[in-house]
C-alpha cells in the first residue's frame, strides 16, 4: 500500500508506557496508509546501543527514523549520520541536541511542574510531601526533577519529607511506600513519577490516612481516582501515543510538508478529582479495558488518526 519504510528505535522494553508508544507507532503507520514497512529496534539498552540501532537502521536504508532517545545528547552522532544519508529523523518523548532532527515531545519539566503545583495547592501551600522519583540517572527523571523543584520553590512552606527513587518499578515503589508508612512520619501529599496505582493500593491496604496523590494518566490510576473512596488526586497526561504523532510528523516531512519549527511540544494536561469538572473529565477518560500500566490518553487530536481498536490490536503495516 504505502511507499515508505520507517525505522523506529526505542531503548526500554516491557514498560507499559513504552509498549503503548510502540503500538501507537504501528497503528498510526497502518492508519496513514503511507507506510509499507516498519523496522523496529526495540530493546533494553543505553545510548551506545541506540547508536548501534540507528546505524543499523541507516544500513537498512529506511526513509525516516522515529526515535525515543535514550539521551538527548548521546545519540547526536548517529542522528547526524542519518540526516546526512537523507533520512528524516524525528525524536519523540524527549528532545535531542542534534539540530537537524525534528522533535515532537512531551514536556517533561512541565509534566512535573503541573502536578506538583496542583499537589502543593491541595496541601494548602504547606506540609510534608513524599517525593517518589523515577530511575536515578535517567534524563527524563532529571527533567521532571527540575519541574518539581520549580514548583517547590513557589511554595516555601512545603517540605520534602523523603525522596526516593522507585526506578519506575512497581514492586520497589510499593515496598518503599510501605516502609515509609511504617515509620509513622506524617505526610500531606505524595508525588509520584508515574508509578501511582501501587501507592494508592498501599494506602488502602494499610488503612493509612488518604493524602492527595499525583500520578500519571495510567489506566489503573485513573480508575482509582474515580472509584477509591476518599482519594483526592490528579493524573497528569503523558501520552504514550506521542509515538503515533512522531510517525505522523515523519510522514508529513517525507511528503514535503515541513513544520514551521523543528520542535513541537505536546503540553501535558492535568485531570483532578477535586472538582466536578475534573471528575467528569476523569470519568470520560477512564478505560478499565486497558492494561493498568497503559496511559488512557491513547490518541492525540490532530496528530493521530487510528482508532482505539487499532492501537489495542498493536499491528503495523504488513502484519
Amino acid at each position: 500500500a504505502g511507499k515508505y519504510t520507517i525505522g523506529i528505535s526505542n531503548t526500554v522494553q516491557g514498560n507499559g508506557w513504552r509498549e503503548e508508544m510502540i503500538c501507537a507507532m504501528k497503528a498510526q503507520a497502518l492508519a496513514s496508509g503511507e507506510v509499507a514497512k516498519l523496522n523496529i529496534a526495540h530493546r533494553n539498552t543505553d545510548a551506545a546501543g541506540q547508536l548501534e540501532d540507528i546505524r543499523n537502521l541507516i544500513s537498512a536504508k529506511v526513509d525516516a527514523i522515529v526515535v525515543n532517545p535514550a539521551d538527548p545528547a548521546g545519540i547526536k552522532a548517529g542522528l547526524e549520520e542519518a540526516t546526512k544519508a537523507g533520512i528524516v529523523v524525528v525524536a519523540v518523548d524527549q528532545a535531542v541536541t542534534e539540530p537537524s532532527a525534528y522533535i515532537i515531545s512531551n514536556n517533561q519539566e512541565q509534566y512535573a511542574y503541573l502536578g506538583a503545583k496542583w499537589l502543593f495547592q491541595q496541601m494548602g501551600g504547606k506540609g510534608e510531601v513524599f517525593y517518589m522519583r523515577g530511575a536515578a540517572g535517567a534524563s527524563a527523571d532529571s527533567d521532571r526533577d527540575k519541574g518539581f523543584k520549580k514548583a517547590l520553590a513557589e511554595f516555601p512552606d512545603v517540605k520534602v519529607a523523603q525522596e526516593v527513587f522507585t526506578g519506575w518499578q512497581q514492586d520497589q515503589a510499593k515496598q518503599q511506600i510501605l516502609s515509609f508508612l511504617a515509620t509513622g512520619t506524617p505526610i500531606n501529599g505524595i508525588w509520584t513519577s508515574g508509578i501511582d496505582n501501587v501507592i494508592v493500593d498501599a494506602l488502602v491496604e494499610q488503612q493509612a490516612p488518604m493524602v492527595p496523590v499525583v500520578g500519571a494518566d495510567n489506566a489503573g490510576f485513573v480508575g482509582q481516582l474515580n472509584t477509591v473512596k476518599g482519594l483526592v488526586g490528579a493524573a497528569v497526561t503523558n501520552p504514550g501515543s506521542i509515538g503515533g504523532a512522531g510517525v505522523t510528523l515523519a510522514l508529513q516531512i517525507l511528503d514535503g510538508k515541513k513544520p514551521a519549527q523543528q520542535t513541537v511540544l505536546v503540553n501535558p494536561e492535568l485531570w483532578e478529582n477535586a472538582t466536578d469538572a475534573g471528575k467528569a473529565k476523569l470519568k470520560s477518560a477512564a478505560d478499565p479495558s486497558l492494561s493498568p500500566e497503559w496511559p488512557v490518553s491513547i490518541s492525540i487530536p490532530d496528530w493521530t488518526t487510528y482508532t482505539k481498536d487499532q492501537i489495542v490490536a498493536c499491528k503495523g503495516p504488513g502484519e
Binding site: 522494553q13 543505553d46 548501534e52 546505524r55 543499523n56 544500513s59 545528547a73 552522532a77 540517572g137
Partner: protein
Amino acid sequence: MSRFFRNQGWVAGLFALLIFLFVVTKLIQPGYGSGDFGSLARAVLPYAFAVAAQTVVVIAGGIDLSVAAMMALTSVTAASMMNGASEEYALFVVPFVLAMGLVLGALNGILIVVTRVPDIVVTLAMLFVLQGAALLVLGAPGGAAAEWLKASVIGTVPIPGLPDWADAWVPKALVLLVVCLCIIWIPLRRSRLGLSIYAIGSNELAAFRSGVPVARTRIIAYALSGLFAALGGLSLTISTGIGAPIPGPYLLASVAAVVLGGVALGGGKGGLLGPIIAVFVLRLVRTDLTLLAIDPNVTAIIEGAIMVAVVMFGAFITMRSRPAGATP
C-alpha cells in the same frame, strides 16, 4: 593438528560462523558496505572491552558482576572531567580514567582476597557501590568528550600500500580495539603472570603448591579487568559524547560472549580471541535482525535461542568427540 583442533577448534568454528553471517548480511542487504562495517566496529567497541574485562577474571576462575557498573563510573568520570575542558586536558583524562579502572579493579580483587567472600558476592556488592559512585559523579546523563577522542573512532585508517577500497574496510574503531587488546593481552599471555592467571583458574590449590602467589595474581587479574572495563567506559563516552550513570546491558552480554567464545566459566581455559569474535557474531546477528525488520518482540526470543543453541551445540560436539577410551 588434532591438538590444534582440540584447542582452537571452537574459535575456528566461531570465525567460520562470523564469515557465514557476513555472507548472509550481504545477501539480505546487497548494499552492505565498508561504512556499515565501520558501524559494526563501533558498536562492538564497548562490548568487546566489557568482554575482555570479563574474560580475564573468568580465566582466573572468578566472575566480575561489576563490569557494567565500572564502565558507567569510568564513563561518567571521563565525561564530567572533559565537560567544558580543553582538548588537551583529555590527554590527562584518558590515563587518569584508565588508572582509576585499574585501581578499582584491584580493589575488587583485594576485597575478594582479604574478606574471602566469594567473588560473585564481592563484585555484586561492588556493582552497587560503583553504580552509586557513578550517580554521585553525574546525577543524570551529561558531560562531554574531546573532539579528537570522538574522531578517534570515526572513519578509517589509511594503511600505506593498501588500495583505497581496502582501506575503507579498516575502520579506526577496529584498529583501536585490536591495538588496545593486543598491547595488553599478548605480552600478558606470554608472561609468567599470564600463566599464573590460567593456573589459579584451573586449580587454585595446585597453583599455590606450584609456588604461584595466588592472592597477588587474583588481584592483578581483577585490576586488568578494571582496566579493560575503563577502556569500555571510555569508549562509551567517546562514541556517545556523554556519560550515563545507569549501566548499559554489558554485564550479561559479557558473560554470554565469554561462554560463546569458548572460555569455560570454571576458569583456566580459553583465550581472548574467541570471546571477541563472539561479540562480533552477536552484534552482527542484531544487525541482521534489524535489516530483516523482524518483530522486535521476537528478536529477544531469537537472541536467546541462538545463545542457548550455540552453547548446546558446543556441549554436544564435546560430548561426541570425547575419545572412546577415556573414562568420562
